[in-house]
């Protein structure tokens, strides 16, 4: 054997160059790196995703501006000042003024308030209904699941925006109406996500253990299963926000949503479109910030999904 290894040009260290290390029992089980919990992994993956972090920073900035800009500005969003109508952006009016002389800077951030409010509240309502409905579907299974799923399918097949428009024709247009109408079919997606998760989780050992200890169905579902499905739920929640913001802007653009003088990006876009030739800034700023907000939420939601689901990440 030794001769053979000498023939090879590869240098093979001989055995006598090695010295045994003293074995320390106490340290043999020691792991140099600190263990990471699942949540730490998620956070690590999220923080290292530059695009998602850009989205998060943008969201934070937009929220801060929406809260503080209207308070700190000397103008308000509804007072007319016809002598200063259609002013281009300047030091006194950063984003210019509209046809009634209202400050576009304040109106843009008031619009952000409306959009964020609608987006977040609609997402939370979807969350509440979707988690309960989907949780019950997934947990009980069988006939209950079949009937509830069929109801959801029938509702889902009805075109969403048509229902919203129909309801808005009937009800007084207001923020509340928009949110209520959006929630009528908006929760179904969330319900299906939760259902899929619960079906996977309900036969896990900890659920069985809890059942063996005599926990009630509701306790198992809401204390054990739902918290373990929080990842996909949170991702869906984040991605619901931009679609709700879009729907609000869409409806307000058509004149079915928020009514003047309340500023909404949709109504501002609709106002600005007739003036686009001569006063393009009236269209530019709501357009820019609507797109930025949707971009930020979409990118952050994508990043969250990648962070929660590393298997998906590999292929995409």
């Amino acid at each position: 054997m030794q001769n053979e290894s000498n023939v090879n040009f590869v240098r093979q260290p001989s055995a006598d160059r090695f010295a045994p290390i003293e074995r320390k029992l106490a340290e043999s089980e020691h792991i140099e790196r600190k263990g990471m919990t699942a949540w730490q992994h998620v956070r690590h993956r999220l923080v290292s995703n530059k695009l998602a972090m850009t989205g998060l920073v943008l969201i934070i900035l937009i929220v801060l501006m929406a809260i503080f800009a209207p308070i700190l500005s000397p103008y308000d969003h509804y007072s007319n000042d016809l002598e200063n109508a259609n002013q281009p952006p300047s030091w006194s009016h950063w984003f210019g003024t509209d046809d009634l002389g209202r400050d576009m800077f304040v109106r843009t951030w008031k619009g952000a308030q409306v959009s964020l409010f609608v987006g977040i509240v609609a997402a939370l309502i979807d969350l509440a209904i979707g988690v309960v409905y989907g949780g019950i579907m997934g947990y009980y299974g069988g006939k209950v699941d079949e009937v509830m799923n069929r109801i959801a399918e029938i509702l889902y097949a009805i075109p969403y925006l048509l229902v919203v428009i129909l309801l808005l024709v009937v009800m007084e247009p207001s923020l509340t109406t928009i949110i209520v109408t959006m929630s009528i079919t908006g929760w179904i997606n969330m319900a299906w996500i939760v259902r899929g998760q619960i079906m996977q989780l309900k036969n896990q050992e900890y659920a069985m253990a809890s059942r063996a200890l005599g926990a009630s169905n509701m306790r198992i579902l809401f204390r054990h299963l739902i918290p373990n499905a929080i990842g996909p739920i949170f991702v869906t929640l984040t991605l619901t926000v931009p679609s709700a913001i879009f729907t609000e802007a869409f409806l307000s653009f058509l004149g079915l949503g928020v009514q003047s003088p309340v500023a909404s990006w949709g109504t501002m876009l609709n106002d600005g479109i007739n003036a686009i030739q001569n006063y393009p800034w009236r269209e530019l700023f709501p357009a820019l910030f609507l797109s930025l907000t949707m971009f930020a939420f979409n990118v952050f939601g994508d990043g969250l999904r990648d962070a929660f689901d590393p298997v998906m990440r590999k292929s995409s």
Binding site: L51, R150, E153, I154, L155, A157, I158, P159, L161, L162, V163, I165, L166, L167, V169, V170, P242, F246, A249, F250, F253, L254, G255, L256, G266, L269, N270, G272, I273, I276, Q277, P280, E283, A287, L290, S291, L292, M294, F295, N298, V299, S315, S316
Partner: protein, 311 residues
Amino acid sequence: MVRFIVNKFFFMLLSLFVLVTATFILMNAVPGSPLQREKATSPQIQKNLEAYYGLDKPLIQQYGVYLKNLLNFDLGISMKKRFYSVNKIIEDSFKYSLRLGVVSIITSVTGGCVLGIIAALYHRRFLDNLAMVLAVIGLAIPSMVMAPVLQYLFAVKVRWFEVAGLEGPLDYVLPTIALSSVSIAYIARLIRSTMIEVLHADFIRTAKAKGLSGHVIVWRHCLRNSMLPVVTYLGYLVAGVITGSVIIEAIFAIPGMGKFFVQSVVDRDYPLIMGITVFYAVLLMVSRFLADIAYALVDPRMRLYSSKAGD
């Protein structure tokens, strides 16, 4: 397979029935009569008008008449546009929407596929990053922002296209881009992620080992398998094009159905709202139904599953 189709068809009808009934209830729940005018009309005229529109009968009977007329594809008479039936309005306006819609759907699918394939083939290289940045931006810019921006840049600043109307083939360019940018982005991302997965599949390695050329592998083997999610998305694409067209037609002053829909909502012209809603709903549900069947036909696994499970 047959059972799968029958099942889907049955549930499509059920959803449609729910929508039709809901529409009827909603339109009748509105306070005040649609015949009310600012000027007071004499009771006799009011009565005659009600009789003409069938509003004097009990509600359940009105519902029956409404359903019967629907089955005969009769959507009633517009209350604001005198002497126009809803059918006539839809007939006149739908051709514009249809043309624009078909052009945008074709643009979305081809544009999305090209972008997605390029991104997948150049995975994690410059072209991939560029395509995906474009896709993310495309997803974030809604049509009511895209349309005026395009209009401003290419019809007002640079006079390449007309600001409004839908006459010549050039007029289609801007509305089509505005209408399909979101779905191009969506399809590109869809194609890219499935294609990357397919490119690593065993049968592609076999194809390479057999010595097939790159083109054959990409077009015959990869693309066909990556198209599956796009087929499912087609049903939703139609929905997107319809809702988008409502805005695009208003901005580009195209006399299509979306424009009339908005007009009817503003005017509170209930028969027209109901008629267009039902028409849109049928269009959407049928296209989703067809997409489901197409999916089952394209994917052999689905066919096998459905013949066994009957769903």
